[in-house]
Amino acid sequence: MPDTILVVAEQREGKLNRVSWETVTAGQALASQTGWTLEAAVVGSGISGIASEVASRKAAKVYAVESPKLEPYTPDAFAFALKQLIESKQPKLVLMPHTYQVRDFVPKLATAMGRTVISDCVGYKKEGDKLVFTRQMFQGKLAADVSFGCEPPWFVTFQNGAFRGDKVETGAAAARVETVNVEIGDGVIRNRPQEVFKEAKQAVDLTQAEIIVSVGRGIKEQKNIELARQLAEALGGEIAASRPICDSGWLPMDRQIGSSGQTVAPKLYLALGISGAIQHIVGMKGARTIIAVNKDSEAPIFEIADYAVVGNLFDIVPPLIEEVRKAKATG
Protein backbone atom coordinates (compact mmCIF):
# COMPACT_ATOMS: atom_id res chain seq x y z
CA MET A 1 0.00 0.00 0.00
CA PRO A 2 1.39 3.40 -0.88
CA ASP A 3 1.92 5.87 1.94
CA THR A 4 -1.02 8.24 2.19
CA ILE A 5 -1.77 11.62 3.65
CA LEU A 6 -5.31 11.98 4.91
CA VAL A 7 -6.78 15.50 5.10
CA VAL A 8 -9.87 15.63 7.27
CA ALA A 9 -11.92 18.52 5.96
CA GLU A 10 -14.36 20.18 8.30
CA GLN A 11 -18.03 20.68 7.68
CA ARG A 12 -20.39 22.56 9.96
CA GLU A 13 -24.12 22.07 9.60
CA GLY A 14 -23.90 20.94 6.02
CA LYS A 15 -21.41 23.53 4.82
CA LEU A 16 -17.75 23.06 4.17
CA ASN A 17 -15.61 25.19 6.48
CA ARG A 18 -13.47 27.21 4.06
CA VAL A 19 -10.38 26.82 6.20
CA SER A 20 -10.34 23.18 5.04
CA TRP A 21 -8.98 24.35 1.69
CA GLU A 22 -5.86 25.52 3.47
CA THR A 23 -5.36 22.04 4.87
CA VAL A 24 -5.85 20.53 1.42
CA THR A 25 -3.20 22.92 0.09
CA ALA A 26 -0.89 21.76 2.86
CA GLY A 27 -1.69 18.16 2.03
CA GLN A 28 -0.99 18.72 -1.65
CA ALA A 29 2.35 20.37 -0.88
CA LEU A 30 3.37 17.55 1.43
CA ALA A 31 2.22 14.97 -1.08
CA SER A 32 4.32 16.41 -3.86
CA GLN A 33 7.38 16.69 -1.58
CA THR A 34 7.13 13.21 -0.11
CA GLY A 35 5.62 11.39 -3.03
CA TRP A 36 2.85 10.13 -0.81
CA THR A 37 -0.75 9.84 -2.02
CA LEU A 38 -3.20 12.50 -0.92
CA GLU A 39 -6.64 11.48 0.27
CA ALA A 40 -9.34 13.43 2.06
CA ALA A 41 -12.26 12.70 4.35
CA VAL A 42 -15.43 14.49 5.34
CA VAL A 43 -17.28 13.40 8.45
CA GLY A 44 -20.98 13.89 9.13
CA SER A 45 -24.45 12.87 8.04
CA GLY A 46 -25.71 13.39 4.48
CA ILE A 47 -22.40 14.93 3.45
CA SER A 48 -21.96 13.41 0.02
CA GLY A 49 -22.34 16.85 -1.55
CA ILE A 50 -19.51 18.24 0.51
CA ALA A 51 -17.39 15.23 -0.25
CA SER A 52 -17.90 15.89 -3.95
CA GLU A 53 -16.91 19.51 -3.43
CA VAL A 54 -13.66 18.40 -1.87
CA ALA A 55 -13.20 15.82 -4.60
CA SER A 56 -13.07 18.59 -7.20
CA ARG A 57 -9.58 19.41 -5.97
CA LYS A 58 -6.47 17.41 -6.71
CA ALA A 59 -6.62 14.33 -4.49
CA ALA A 60 -6.63 10.60 -5.12
CA LYS A 61 -9.79 9.80 -3.15
CA VAL A 62 -12.29 11.36 -0.80
CA TYR A 63 -14.03 9.41 1.94
CA ALA A 64 -17.51 10.43 2.99
CA VAL A 65 -17.69 9.10 6.53
CA GLU A 66 -21.42 8.72 7.17
CA SER A 67 -23.62 8.08 10.14
CA PRO A 68 -26.80 9.77 11.32
CA LYS A 69 -25.16 9.90 14.75
CA LEU A 70 -22.43 12.16 13.36
CA GLU A 71 -24.88 15.04 13.25
CA PRO A 72 -24.73 17.10 15.43
CA TYR A 73 -21.00 17.08 16.09
CA THR A 74 -19.86 15.39 19.30
CA PRO A 75 -16.28 14.49 20.18
CA ASP A 76 -17.29 10.93 21.07
CA ALA A 77 -18.86 10.25 17.66
CA PHE A 78 -16.18 11.96 15.60
CA ALA A 79 -13.31 10.28 17.43
CA PHE A 80 -15.06 6.92 17.09
CA ALA A 81 -15.76 7.27 13.39
CA LEU A 82 -12.34 8.58 12.45
CA LYS A 83 -10.60 5.92 14.52
CA GLN A 84 -12.40 3.31 12.47
CA LEU A 85 -11.51 4.99 9.20
CA ILE A 86 -7.86 5.48 10.11
CA GLU A 87 -7.47 1.94 11.38
CA SER A 88 -8.87 0.63 8.15
CA LYS A 89 -7.12 2.94 5.67
CA GLN A 90 -3.90 3.37 7.68
CA PRO A 91 -2.70 6.76 6.45
CA LYS A 92 0.77 7.83 7.48
CA LEU A 93 -0.12 11.44 8.11
CA VAL A 94 -3.47 12.87 9.17
CA LEU A 95 -3.94 16.62 8.66
CA MET A 96 -6.67 18.89 10.02
CA PRO A 97 -7.25 22.61 10.38
CA HIS A 98 -6.78 23.84 13.96
CA THR A 99 -10.40 24.84 14.48
CA TYR A 100 -12.30 24.90 17.77
CA GLN A 101 -14.01 21.71 16.67
CA VAL A 102 -10.82 19.89 15.78
CA ARG A 103 -9.24 20.90 19.10
CA ASP A 104 -12.23 19.38 20.77
CA PHE A 105 -11.73 15.85 19.41
CA VAL A 106 -8.36 15.24 17.76
CA PRO A 107 -6.38 14.84 21.03
CA LYS A 108 -8.97 12.28 22.10
CA LEU A 109 -8.72 10.49 18.77
CA ALA A 110 -4.94 10.35 18.86
CA THR A 111 -4.84 9.17 22.47
CA ALA A 112 -7.40 6.46 21.76
CA MET A 113 -5.04 5.21 19.06
CA GLY A 114 -1.98 5.51 21.31
CA ARG A 115 -0.62 8.38 19.24
CA THR A 116 0.03 12.10 19.56
CA VAL A 117 -0.95 15.34 17.83
CA ILE A 118 1.41 18.17 16.92
CA SER A 119 -1.12 20.94 17.00
CA ASP A 120 -1.40 24.50 15.74
CA CYS A 121 1.49 24.26 13.27
CA VAL A 122 2.43 27.09 10.96
CA GLY A 123 4.49 25.08 8.53
CA TYR A 124 6.61 22.04 7.95
CA LYS A 125 10.12 21.14 6.81
CA LYS A 126 11.44 18.03 5.19
CA GLU A 127 14.86 17.21 6.63
CA GLY A 128 16.12 14.24 4.67
CA ASP A 129 13.49 11.59 5.24
CA LYS A 130 12.14 13.18 8.37
CA LEU A 131 9.18 15.50 8.51
CA VAL A 132 9.41 18.25 11.05
CA PHE A 133 6.53 20.59 11.92
CA THR A 134 6.97 24.18 12.95
CA ARG A 135 4.80 25.72 15.63
CA GLN A 136 4.85 28.90 17.66
CA MET A 137 5.52 28.80 21.35
CA PHE A 138 5.43 31.34 24.16
CA GLN A 139 2.76 33.28 22.31
CA GLY A 140 4.79 33.65 19.17
CA LYS A 141 8.03 34.72 20.84
CA LEU A 142 9.78 31.53 19.85
CA ALA A 143 9.31 28.94 17.11
CA ALA A 144 9.78 25.21 17.60
CA ASP A 145 10.49 22.48 15.08
CA VAL A 146 8.80 19.35 16.36
CA SER A 147 9.13 15.78 15.14
CA PHE A 148 7.24 12.56 15.83
CA GLY A 149 8.78 9.94 18.10
CA CYS A 150 6.18 7.26 17.46
CA GLU A 151 4.85 5.12 14.66
CA PRO A 152 2.31 6.49 12.18
CA PRO A 153 -0.45 7.56 11.97
CA TRP A 154 0.90 11.02 12.71
CA PHE A 155 -1.65 13.70 13.59
CA VAL A 156 -1.01 17.34 12.68
CA THR A 157 -3.26 20.37 12.86
CA PHE A 158 -2.44 23.56 10.97
CA GLN A 159 -3.06 27.10 12.15
CA ASN A 160 -5.63 29.23 10.38
CA GLY A 161 -3.77 31.12 7.66
CA ALA A 162 -0.64 28.96 7.64
CA PHE A 163 -1.42 27.89 4.09
CA ARG A 164 -3.22 29.60 1.23
CA GLY A 165 -6.68 28.16 0.72
CA ASP A 166 -6.92 29.99 -2.60
CA LYS A 167 -3.81 28.24 -3.89
CA VAL A 168 -5.35 24.76 -3.68
CA GLU A 169 -4.83 22.86 -6.91
CA THR A 170 -7.64 21.46 -8.91
CA GLY A 171 -7.29 17.93 -10.14
CA ALA A 172 -7.41 16.93 -13.78
CA ALA A 173 -10.53 14.96 -12.98
CA ALA A 174 -12.71 14.76 -9.89
CA ALA A 175 -11.42 12.35 -7.29
CA ARG A 176 -13.35 9.22 -6.48
CA VAL A 177 -15.75 9.55 -3.53
CA GLU A 178 -16.02 6.48 -1.34
CA THR A 179 -18.79 6.39 1.24
CA VAL A 180 -17.82 4.77 4.50
CA ASN A 181 -20.79 3.97 6.71
CA VAL A 182 -19.99 3.85 10.38
CA GLU A 183 -22.01 2.01 13.02
CA ILE A 184 -21.99 4.02 16.20
CA GLY A 185 -23.51 2.03 19.04
CA ASP A 186 -25.64 3.31 21.89
CA GLY A 187 -23.68 4.64 24.79
CA VAL A 188 -20.79 5.91 22.68
CA ILE A 189 -22.05 9.46 22.62
CA ARG A 190 -22.33 11.00 26.06
CA ASN A 191 -22.74 14.72 25.29
CA ARG A 192 -26.08 16.14 24.20
CA PRO A 193 -25.36 19.34 22.26
CA GLN A 194 -28.11 21.92 21.78
CA GLU A 195 -28.56 24.40 18.94
CA VAL A 196 -25.68 26.63 17.93
CA PHE A 197 -26.58 30.29 18.35
CA LYS A 198 -24.99 33.66 17.85
CA GLU A 199 -24.69 36.13 20.67
CA ALA A 200 -23.68 39.78 20.72
CA LYS A 201 -20.31 39.70 22.38
CA GLN A 202 -19.71 42.14 25.17
CA ALA A 203 -16.13 42.71 24.23
CA VAL A 204 -14.77 42.62 20.71
CA ASP A 205 -12.19 39.92 20.16
CA LEU A 206 -9.66 41.51 17.88
CA THR A 207 -7.66 38.29 17.79
CA GLN A 208 -10.34 36.90 15.47
CA ALA A 209 -10.26 39.84 13.04
CA GLU A 210 -8.58 39.26 9.68
CA ILE A 211 -8.26 42.96 8.88
CA ILE A 212 -7.50 45.64 11.43
CA VAL A 213 -7.30 49.39 10.87
CA SER A 214 -5.52 50.90 13.84
CA VAL A 215 -5.11 54.53 14.88
CA GLY A 216 -2.53 56.28 17.00
CA ARG A 217 -1.79 59.76 18.23
CA GLY A 218 -1.52 60.97 14.65
CA ILE A 219 -5.31 60.89 14.40
CA LYS A 220 -5.18 64.07 16.46
CA GLU A 221 -8.81 64.32 17.54
CA GLN A 222 -11.54 61.92 18.53
CA LYS A 223 -13.79 62.96 15.69
CA ASN A 224 -11.17 61.96 13.14
CA ILE A 225 -11.50 58.34 14.14
CA GLU A 226 -14.57 58.33 11.91
CA LEU A 227 -12.23 58.38 8.94
CA ALA A 228 -10.48 55.23 10.13
CA ARG A 229 -13.85 53.63 10.84
CA GLN A 230 -14.93 54.23 7.25
CA LEU A 231 -11.75 52.64 5.98
CA ALA A 232 -12.26 49.64 8.26
CA GLU A 233 -15.80 49.30 7.04
CA ALA A 234 -14.78 49.53 3.40
CA LEU A 235 -12.22 46.79 3.96
CA GLY A 236 -14.53 44.69 6.09
CA GLY A 237 -12.25 44.92 9.08
CA GLU A 238 -12.18 46.01 12.70
CA ILE A 239 -10.99 49.25 14.18
CA ALA A 240 -8.32 49.25 16.87
CA ALA A 241 -5.93 51.70 18.48
CA SER A 242 -2.68 52.20 20.31
CA ARG A 243 -2.78 52.83 24.00
CA PRO A 244 -2.98 56.66 24.21
CA ILE A 245 -6.18 56.64 22.14
CA CYS A 246 -7.86 54.21 24.53
CA ASP A 247 -6.48 55.97 27.59
CA SER A 248 -8.13 59.16 26.38
CA GLY A 249 -11.38 57.27 26.10
CA TRP A 250 -11.62 57.85 22.34
CA LEU A 251 -12.04 54.11 21.80
CA PRO A 252 -12.96 51.46 24.38
CA MET A 253 -10.21 49.51 26.13
CA ASP A 254 -11.04 46.32 24.27
CA ARG A 255 -9.82 48.00 21.07
CA GLN A 256 -6.33 48.46 22.44
CA ILE A 257 -3.44 46.66 20.77
CA GLY A 258 -0.16 46.27 22.59
CA SER A 259 1.55 44.95 25.68
CA SER A 260 -1.26 46.20 27.91
CA GLY A 261 -3.98 45.36 25.42
CA GLN A 262 -4.46 42.58 22.89
CA THR A 263 -1.89 40.80 20.78
CA VAL A 264 -3.09 40.18 17.23
CA ALA A 265 -1.77 38.55 14.08
CA PRO A 266 -4.29 39.43 11.37
CA LYS A 267 -3.90 39.12 7.62
CA LEU A 268 -3.67 42.89 7.35
CA TYR A 269 -2.75 45.53 9.92
CA LEU A 270 -3.09 49.10 8.75
CA ALA A 271 -1.42 51.52 11.18
CA LEU A 272 -2.54 55.13 10.81
CA GLY A 273 -0.61 57.77 12.69
CA ILE A 274 1.03 55.24 14.96
CA SER A 275 4.66 55.90 15.78
CA GLY A 276 5.51 52.33 16.68
CA ALA A 277 6.58 52.43 20.31
CA ILE A 278 7.78 49.01 21.34
CA GLN A 279 4.79 48.61 23.66
CA HIS A 280 2.53 48.73 20.61
CA ILE A 281 4.73 46.76 18.23
CA VAL A 282 4.79 43.68 20.42
CA GLY A 283 1.03 43.50 20.05
CA MET A 284 0.92 43.42 16.25
CA LYS A 285 4.24 42.46 14.72
CA GLY A 286 2.90 39.02 13.90
CA ALA A 287 0.50 40.44 11.32
CA ARG A 288 0.95 38.94 7.85
CA THR A 289 0.98 42.30 6.07
CA ILE A 290 1.64 45.58 7.81
CA ILE A 291 0.93 48.92 6.13
CA ALA A 292 1.91 52.08 7.98
CA VAL A 293 1.04 55.69 7.29
CA ASN A 294 2.89 58.31 9.31
CA LYS A 295 4.14 61.84 8.79
CA ASP A 296 7.45 61.10 10.47
CA SER A 297 9.86 59.28 8.17
CA GLU A 298 11.79 58.07 11.22
CA ALA A 299 8.82 56.56 12.99
CA PRO A 300 9.88 53.13 14.30
CA ILE A 301 6.72 51.59 12.85
CA PHE A 302 8.35 51.73 9.43
CA GLU A 303 10.92 49.19 10.54
CA ILE A 304 8.33 46.45 10.70
CA ALA A 305 6.04 47.64 7.92
CA ASP A 306 5.78 45.82 4.61
CA TYR A 307 4.45 48.91 2.86
CA ALA A 308 5.19 52.36 4.12
CA VAL A 309 3.66 55.70 3.29
CA VAL A 310 5.39 58.78 4.66
CA GLY A 311 2.69 61.36 4.53
CA ASN A 312 -0.30 62.97 6.12
CA LEU A 313 -2.93 60.38 6.84
CA PHE A 314 -5.69 62.94 6.33
CA ASP A 315 -4.51 63.29 2.72
CA ILE A 316 -4.03 59.59 2.10
CA VAL A 317 -7.00 57.94 3.77
CA PRO A 318 -9.96 59.59 1.95
CA PRO A 319 -8.75 58.61 -1.56
CA LEU A 320 -7.81 55.22 -0.16
CA ILE A 321 -11.36 54.64 1.03
CA GLU A 322 -12.62 55.58 -2.45
CA GLU A 323 -10.22 53.23 -4.20
CA VAL A 324 -11.07 50.37 -1.85
CA ARG A 325 -14.80 50.84 -2.43
CA LYS A 326 -14.22 50.95 -6.19
CA ALA A 327 -12.07 47.82 -6.14
CA LYS A 328 -14.58 45.92 -4.05
CA ALA A 329 -17.45 46.93 -6.32
CA THR A 330 -15.69 45.74 -9.46
CA GLY A 331 -13.81 42.82 -7.86
Binding site: P75, T111, S119, V146, F148, E199, I211, P319, A327, K328
Partner: protein, 285 residues
Protein backbone atom coordinates in the same frame (compact mmCIF):
# COMPACT_ATOMS: atom_id res chain seq x y z
CA UNK B 1 -43.85 2.15 77.61
CA UNK B 2 -45.98 3.08 74.63
CA UNK B 3 -44.79 6.70 74.88
CA UNK B 4 -41.09 5.84 74.71
CA UNK B 5 -41.76 3.44 71.84
CA UNK B 6 -43.42 6.22 69.81
CA UNK B 7 -40.64 8.53 70.87
CA UNK B 8 -38.08 6.10 69.55
CA UNK B 9 -39.78 5.57 66.19
CA UNK B 10 -40.20 9.33 65.84
CA UNK B 11 -36.47 9.70 66.38
CA UNK B 12 -35.90 7.00 63.82
CA UNK B 13 -37.91 8.91 61.25
CA UNK B 14 -35.99 12.11 61.99
CA UNK B 15 -32.71 10.26 61.64
CA UNK B 16 -33.83 8.68 58.35
CA UNK B 17 -34.98 11.99 56.89
CA UNK B 18 -31.80 13.67 58.06
CA UNK B 19 -29.72 10.95 56.45
CA UNK B 20 -31.59 11.28 53.17
CA UNK B 21 -31.30 15.05 53.17
CA UNK B 22 -27.63 14.91 54.06
CA UNK B 23 -26.99 12.36 51.35
CA UNK B 24 -28.82 14.35 48.75
CA UNK B 25 -27.02 17.47 49.92
CA UNK B 26 -23.80 15.57 49.64
CA UNK B 27 -24.86 14.44 46.20
CA UNK B 28 -25.30 18.07 45.28
CA UNK B 29 -21.77 18.79 46.35
CA UNK B 30 -19.09 18.94 43.71
CA UNK B 31 -15.59 17.60 44.11
CA UNK B 32 -13.55 19.53 41.58
CA UNK B 33 -9.92 19.14 40.56
CA UNK B 34 -8.24 22.08 38.84
CA UNK B 35 -5.11 21.31 36.81
CA UNK B 36 -2.81 24.31 36.93
CA UNK B 37 0.45 25.13 35.22
CA UNK B 38 3.23 27.55 36.03
CA UNK B 39 4.55 29.29 32.94
CA UNK B 40 7.17 32.00 32.26
CA UNK B 41 5.72 35.47 32.79
CA UNK B 42 4.07 36.84 29.67
CA UNK B 43 6.60 39.61 29.09
CA UNK B 44 9.66 37.82 30.43
CA UNK B 45 12.65 38.09 28.09
CA UNK B 46 13.28 34.51 27.02
CA UNK B 47 16.71 33.06 26.33
CA UNK B 48 17.47 29.73 24.69
CA UNK B 49 19.42 27.14 26.64
CA UNK B 50 22.71 25.73 25.39
CA UNK B 51 21.17 22.94 23.35
CA UNK B 52 18.50 25.28 21.99
CA UNK B 53 15.71 22.87 22.69
CA UNK B 54 14.28 24.70 25.68
CA UNK B 55 14.52 28.07 27.41
CA UNK B 56 16.77 29.09 30.24
CA UNK B 57 14.75 28.87 33.39
CA UNK B 58 16.13 31.98 35.08
CA UNK B 59 12.98 33.97 34.35
CA UNK B 60 10.02 35.01 36.45
CA UNK B 61 7.08 32.65 36.50
CA UNK B 62 3.37 33.06 36.95
CA UNK B 63 0.23 30.98 36.80
CA UNK B 64 -1.02 30.13 33.31
CA UNK B 65 -3.75 32.70 32.77
CA UNK B 66 -6.60 30.41 31.64
CA UNK B 67 -5.87 28.18 34.66
CA UNK B 68 -6.48 31.12 36.99
CA UNK B 69 -9.94 31.47 35.46
CA UNK B 70 -10.50 27.73 35.75
CA UNK B 71 -9.68 27.96 39.46
CA UNK B 72 -12.00 30.92 39.92
CA UNK B 73 -14.82 29.00 38.23
CA UNK B 74 -14.19 25.98 40.46
CA UNK B 75 -14.26 28.15 43.59
CA UNK B 76 -17.54 29.71 42.49
CA UNK B 77 -19.08 26.29 41.89
CA UNK B 78 -18.00 25.21 45.36
CA UNK B 79 -19.52 28.35 46.85
CA UNK B 80 -22.78 27.56 45.09
CA UNK B 81 -23.05 23.82 45.65
CA UNK B 82 -20.68 22.96 48.44
CA UNK B 83 -17.97 20.40 48.03
CA UNK B 84 -14.25 20.59 47.59
CA UNK B 85 -11.69 22.10 45.27
CA UNK B 86 -8.33 20.41 44.87
CA UNK B 87 -5.51 21.75 42.72
CA UNK B 88 -2.71 19.86 41.04
CA UNK B 89 0.43 20.87 39.20
CA UNK B 90 3.64 19.29 37.97
CA UNK B 91 7.05 20.92 37.92
CA UNK B 92 10.06 21.83 40.04
CA UNK B 93 9.89 23.38 43.50
CA UNK B 94 9.08 26.80 42.07
CA UNK B 95 5.75 25.48 40.77
CA UNK B 96 4.53 25.21 44.33
CA UNK B 97 3.85 28.94 44.23
CA UNK B 98 0.90 28.33 41.94
CA UNK B 99 -0.57 25.87 44.42
CA UNK B 100 0.00 28.20 47.36
CA UNK B 101 -1.82 30.99 45.59
CA UNK B 102 -4.69 28.65 44.79
CA UNK B 103 -4.93 27.51 48.40
CA UNK B 104 -4.84 31.14 49.52
CA UNK B 105 -7.78 31.90 47.27
CA UNK B 106 -9.86 29.09 48.75
CA UNK B 107 -8.82 25.73 47.30
CA UNK B 108 -8.93 23.01 49.96
CA UNK B 109 -5.93 20.89 49.12
CA UNK B 110 -3.10 20.62 46.67
CA UNK B 111 -1.08 17.93 44.90
CA UNK B 112 2.41 18.73 43.65
CA UNK B 113 4.16 16.36 41.27
CA UNK B 114 7.52 17.76 42.15
CA UNK B 115 10.47 17.23 39.83
CA UNK B 116 12.03 19.40 37.14
CA UNK B 117 11.78 16.42 34.79
CA UNK B 118 8.03 17.03 34.56
CA UNK B 119 8.67 20.22 32.60
CA UNK B 120 9.90 18.29 29.57
CA UNK B 121 6.92 15.95 29.32
CA UNK B 122 4.57 16.32 26.37
CA UNK B 123 0.79 16.67 26.82
CA UNK B 124 0.14 12.94 26.68
CA UNK B 125 2.73 12.10 29.33
CA UNK B 126 1.55 14.97 31.50
CA UNK B 127 -2.03 13.73 31.32
CA UNK B 128 -0.80 10.23 32.15
CA UNK B 129 1.04 11.30 35.30
CA UNK B 130 -1.92 13.39 36.44
CA UNK B 131 -4.21 10.41 35.95
CA UNK B 132 -1.78 8.27 37.94
CA UNK B 133 -1.52 10.83 40.74
CA UNK B 134 -5.28 11.03 41.23
CA UNK B 135 -5.94 7.31 41.07
CA UNK B 136 -8.54 6.38 43.66
CA UNK B 137 -9.91 9.90 43.95
CA UNK B 138 -13.58 10.49 43.20
CA UNK B 139 -13.78 13.83 41.45
CA UNK B 140 -16.99 15.01 39.79
CA UNK B 141 -15.31 17.54 37.60
CA UNK B 142 -11.80 18.18 36.36
CA UNK B 143 -10.99 21.62 34.97
CA UNK B 144 -8.00 22.70 32.94
CA UNK B 145 -7.35 26.00 31.21
CA UNK B 146 -8.09 25.78 27.50
CA UNK B 147 -4.37 25.92 26.67
CA UNK B 148 -1.08 26.96 28.19
CA UNK B 149 0.65 30.26 27.52
CA UNK B 150 3.96 28.51 26.89
CA UNK B 151 3.29 25.42 24.75
CA UNK B 152 -0.17 26.37 23.59
CA UNK B 153 -1.07 22.77 22.61
CA UNK B 154 -4.61 22.84 24.02
CA UNK B 155 -4.53 19.06 24.49
CA UNK B 156 -3.90 18.02 28.09
CA UNK B 157 -7.51 18.30 29.26
CA UNK B 158 -8.92 16.37 26.31
CA UNK B 159 -6.28 13.65 26.61
CA UNK B 160 -6.95 13.33 30.34
CA UNK B 161 -10.65 12.80 29.61
CA UNK B 162 -9.86 10.03 27.16
CA UNK B 163 -7.46 8.34 29.61
CA UNK B 164 -10.08 8.45 32.36
CA UNK B 165 -12.85 7.40 30.01
CA UNK B 166 -14.84 10.54 30.88
CA UNK B 167 -16.87 12.83 28.58
CA UNK B 168 -15.38 16.27 27.98
CA UNK B 169 -16.07 19.66 26.46
CA UNK B 170 -13.66 22.45 25.55
CA UNK B 171 -13.49 26.24 25.65
CA UNK B 172 -16.20 26.51 28.26
CA UNK B 173 -17.66 29.86 29.29
CA UNK B 174 -20.35 28.82 31.74
CA UNK B 175 -21.26 25.80 33.83
CA UNK B 176 -24.63 24.99 35.42
CA UNK B 177 -25.51 22.00 37.50
CA UNK B 178 -28.56 20.08 36.27
CA UNK B 179 -30.55 17.01 37.33
CA UNK B 180 -28.61 14.80 34.96
CA UNK B 181 -25.19 16.34 35.34
CA UNK B 182 -24.17 19.71 33.95
CA UNK B 183 -25.05 22.10 31.17
CA UNK B 184 -22.08 23.96 29.75
CA UNK B 185 -21.77 26.83 27.30
CA UNK B 186 -19.13 26.23 24.64
CA UNK B 187 -17.50 29.02 22.71
CA UNK B 188 -17.26 28.52 18.95
CA UNK B 189 -15.62 30.71 16.32
CA UNK B 190 -17.01 33.94 14.96
CA UNK B 191 -19.28 34.81 17.86
CA UNK B 192 -21.17 31.50 17.98
CA UNK B 193 -21.93 29.53 21.12
CA UNK B 194 -23.54 26.24 22.01
CA UNK B 195 -25.01 24.67 25.11
CA UNK B 196 -24.17 21.03 25.79
CA UNK B 197 -25.72 18.74 28.37
CA UNK B 198 -23.26 16.31 29.88
CA UNK B 199 -23.25 13.63 32.56
CA UNK B 200 -20.79 13.65 35.45
CA UNK B 201 -17.97 13.02 35.94
CA UNK B 202 -16.54 15.12 33.13
CA UNK B 203 -13.45 17.10 32.08
CA UNK B 204 -13.85 20.72 30.98
CA UNK B 205 -11.28 23.08 29.50
CA UNK B 206 -12.08 26.60 30.57
CA UNK B 207 -11.89 29.77 28.47
CA UNK B 208 -9.93 32.74 29.75
CA UNK B 209 -11.62 35.92 30.92
CA UNK B 210 -14.99 34.39 31.77
CA UNK B 211 -15.15 35.81 35.27
CA UNK B 212 -13.40 38.32 37.48
CA UNK B 213 -10.57 36.76 39.43
CA UNK B 214 -10.75 37.13 43.18
CA UNK B 215 -7.82 38.40 45.22
CA UNK B 216 -6.20 36.24 47.85
CA UNK B 217 -6.74 37.81 51.27
CA UNK B 218 -4.23 38.01 54.10
CA UNK B 219 -6.24 35.50 56.13
CA UNK B 220 -6.45 33.22 53.10
CA UNK B 221 -2.69 33.33 52.64
CA UNK B 222 -2.11 32.55 56.29
CA UNK B 223 -4.59 29.70 56.29
CA UNK B 224 -3.09 28.26 53.12
CA UNK B 225 -0.01 27.26 55.06
CA UNK B 226 -2.01 24.71 57.00
CA UNK B 227 -3.88 23.18 54.09
CA UNK B 228 -2.78 19.74 52.90
CA UNK B 229 -0.16 19.75 50.15
CA UNK B 230 0.69 16.26 48.96
CA UNK B 231 3.97 15.83 47.13
CA UNK B 232 4.28 13.14 44.52
CA UNK B 233 7.74 12.11 43.41
CA UNK B 234 8.61 11.28 39.82
CA UNK B 235 9.32 7.69 40.81
CA UNK B 236 5.75 7.22 41.99
CA UNK B 237 4.24 8.01 38.60
CA UNK B 238 7.13 6.96 36.36
CA UNK B 239 5.49 3.66 35.36
CA UNK B 240 2.68 5.63 33.75
CA UNK B 241 4.91 7.23 31.16
CA UNK B 242 7.01 5.68 28.44
CA UNK B 243 8.83 8.50 26.71
CA UNK B 244 7.49 11.46 24.77
CA UNK B 245 5.76 10.69 21.49
CA UNK B 246 6.91 13.99 20.04
CA UNK B 247 10.16 15.85 20.38
CA UNK B 248 11.19 19.47 20.12
CA UNK B 249 14.10 19.29 17.71
CA UNK B 250 14.99 22.92 18.14
CA UNK B 251 13.69 26.16 19.51
CA UNK B 252 14.58 29.46 17.86
CA UNK B 253 13.67 33.09 17.50
CA UNK B 254 11.50 33.39 14.40
CA UNK B 255 13.35 35.46 11.81
CA UNK B 256 11.27 37.84 9.82
CA UNK B 257 12.96 39.21 6.76
CA UNK B 258 11.25 42.50 6.30
CA UNK B 259 11.82 44.53 3.19
CA UNK B 260 9.90 47.70 3.70
CA UNK B 261 8.61 49.11 0.44
CA UNK B 262 8.01 52.83 0.54
CA UNK B 263 5.13 53.96 -1.66
CA UNK B 264 5.56 57.39 -3.16
CA UNK B 265 3.54 59.82 -5.18
CA UNK B 266 0.55 62.05 -4.77
CA UNK B 267 -2.19 61.03 -2.37
CA UNK B 268 -4.30 59.68 -5.22
CA UNK B 269 -1.39 57.70 -6.68
CA UNK B 270 -0.46 56.24 -3.32
CA UNK B 271 -4.07 55.24 -2.72
CA UNK B 272 -4.10 53.32 -5.99
CA UNK B 273 -0.77 51.65 -5.20
CA UNK B 274 -2.07 50.65 -1.80
CA UNK B 275 -5.18 49.08 -3.24
CA UNK B 276 -3.01 47.18 -5.64
CA UNK B 277 -1.00 45.79 -2.72
CA UNK B 278 -4.17 45.04 -0.79
CA UNK B 279 -5.54 43.09 -3.69
CA UNK B 280 -2.50 41.24 -4.96
CA UNK B 281 -0.17 40.97 -1.99
CA UNK B 282 -2.24 41.05 1.16
CA UNK B 283 -5.14 39.49 -0.73
CA UNK B 284 -7.81 41.13 1.34
CA UNK B 285 -9.74 42.54 -1.61
Amino acid sequence: MKQSGRHNSWLLWVALVAAILTRSYRENELKILVCMKQVPQKDAPLKLNETANWIREDVSYEVNEPDAYALEEALRQKEKHGGEVAVITSGPARAQQVLREALAKGADRAIHLEDSAFVGLDALSTARVFAAAIKGEQFDLIFTGLQSDDFGFAQTGVILAELLGWPHATIIMQIEKTETGIRVKRELEAGYFQYVDMPLPAVLTIQSGINKLRYATLIGIKQAKNKPLRKVALAEVQPAISGNLQKIERLYVPQKTKNTEFLEGSAGEVAKKLVDKLRNEARVI
